[in-house]
Symmetry: C2
Subunit: 340 residues, 2 copies
């Protein structure tokens, strides 16, 4: 173990997979060997890790032989097929897809919130949805202090959450608009440039989207509290990196704005940016590139008992995905939870 | 009166003033003469009305002599000074600024919601804030049926709401980004391109912005119901035209989603766009250019008793400002409420 782990990144050529490689480097995660896996289509590409070119290999059932840790971010169907294979061969999987998040046998972990849930893992650990992660990081100290009754949240989500192809789509739409050409759309059903789409994930029978229901179900599981109510409206906006959230939270007891500020100032993984008179509040373009969750616009919600309003922003590819996964791996390592 | 009215437009060169001229034309408002007024700086410019060039004149105390109707959109300080002068000379003012909105002697009117409030006007009528107008148009039928207890709203507001200079700022930022040049900001304290700014209007001591408090105070006045609670978070987004709103409303009694749909289908000024499985929901780029308020994403809010969630979009320069003002003038004319 002293020399480090044999680490696989599944979906290495995607926006999150790429960032996983970068975050492993940045945080000096002890990697003795790295295996970059992707679909057949991407096999043969070269990516860089610690200054060396690494070949991308095709993901197969044998990919995980000898691997200690695999970070998955290649979509739910790939995870559903390959994560159990990796797990059965003794490789611990941190899976960024939605495939196992609600599986009662799989811990769903945000390191600042519920690291203890890792103790009982069975070689698969789920990384929550990006929108959920930043919200629970910011709300954790309030929940610990007085308990959360209900959350009403509206999101402003960056195109990078959809993946590399959506980043390209927004860039191409800017280009077409600038050149006076017709704006083409392939990834989203509508133009995203200069627009807001209240549509993330498929629509369910209750009128909510999958993304909106994730914010309810995952929040309950992470806080281990099925009584918490969450009503979400999730919206895609023309931003490249950084999800923003407008959050109205009803607490189970009173907390003053000053008390909320004090709690957030010492909260793990949180940076308070809350000096509105100087036009200082969290912004997606500022959060991009950071591993922190930024909180501001904190105020009392006078429309309800024990109400607090806040504005929560984080880099959806980093804290919302890659960084959270690597942080999980760091705890597994530190707490001797890798079955080696 | 048969030949029409002598109409003044104050702030004629601004985004809303310009649209007021266009809407007067489009709706064939009976204008016998038009006077276009602006600051000294803009005097001498020419604007078109019904195919003829009209000189922009400098606004002075004598500008309203002989005028029947004045549509103001030149900011609160201009309204505070000149609207009472116009009113004292028998010219009825429809004022788009915030100057008189909360004045108990001034009706605050959305034609689909509270046209009767016009009856007692004293020559000044206030046009509500853009964000408030579209929200109350959509909520009016629900309020009439069962009553509204509390509204939690988060807005996605277009730059045109700030005025012509903000439209230019977003265009210039696109240009700079595309050409790889530094992005300059003059109108907003931060880059608006690819960003979301939770900051519209000045910040008040309670942590809310002026815009957020307008949504509370104006909603109460328009519905003539000081018991309604409204908690707003208002956010500027990189969209040119069209404000979007994520609205969670708690009603005083039960209404099914089907009942809400039925009410909205026959509501004045509303178009329901609510077929999510076909990716049909209101979008700012679709609402731009329309005088209607678009409502969709209607669903039950299971997190609270009698909760309904919806997504409300309208063209902030038209229904949110110019069209609403002209519609007020149409009622004044029809109901013989012009003191001629």
């Amino acid at each position: 173990m002293a020399e480090g782990l044999n680490v696989a990144v599944v979906g290495a050529t995607g926006a999150v997979g790429n960032m996983m490689i970068k975050v492993l480097e940045e945080r000096s995660f002890p990697v003795s060997s790295i295996k970059l896996l992707a679909s057949k289509r991407s096999a043969g590409k070269k990516l860089s890790f610690r200054g060396k070119a690494v070949d991308v290999q095709e993901l197969t059932e044998d990919s995980f032989d000898g691997m200690d840790l695999a970070l998955f971010s290649a979509g739910a169907s790939v995870s559903r097929k390959f994560a159990p294979i990796a797990a059965s061969r003794g490789c611990v999987v941190v899976d960024n897809s939605s495939a196992f998040r609600m599986d009662p046998n799989v811990p769903l972990v945000v390191p600042e919130v519920n690291p203890k849930a890792l103790k009982n893992h069975k070689n698969i650990i789920a990384n929550p949805n990006c929108s959920t992660i930043q919200m629970v990081v910011a709300l954790k100290p309030l929940h610990d202090r007085v308990g959360i009754k209900r959350i009403v949240v509206t999101t402003f989500q960056a195109v990078s959450g959809t993946g590399q192809k959506a980043i390209v789509e927004l860039e191409e739409q800017v280009k077409a608009w600038f050149q006076g050409k017709p704006i083409e759309k392939k990834v989203y059903p509508h133009q995203i440039l200069f627009n807001c789409l209240p549509h993330i994930g498929s629509f369910l029978d209750n009128g909510f989207t999958e993304e909106e229901m994730k914010m309810l179900n995952e929040t309950r599981k992470i806080f281990d509290d099925p009584s918490i109510e969450v009503c979400a409206t999730t919206v895609r906006v023309p931003v490249f990196y950084g999800h923003s959230e407008s959050v109205n939270v009803e607490l189970k007891g009173p907390l003053s704005v000053e008390e909320v500020r004090e709690l957030l100032e010492s909260a793990e993984g949180v940076r308070m940016v809350d000096n509105p008179s100087a036009a200082q509040y969290p912004l997606p373009i500022d959060a991009a590139g950071s591993d922190l969750t930024f909180v501001g616009r904190i105020r009392k919600d006078p429309s309800v008992e024990n109400g607090i309003v806040m504005w929560i922003v984080a880099d959806n590819i980093r804290k919302g995905a890659a960084t959270n996964a690597v942080q999980i791996a760091e705890i597994l390592l530190r707490e001797n939870l890798l079955k080696k």
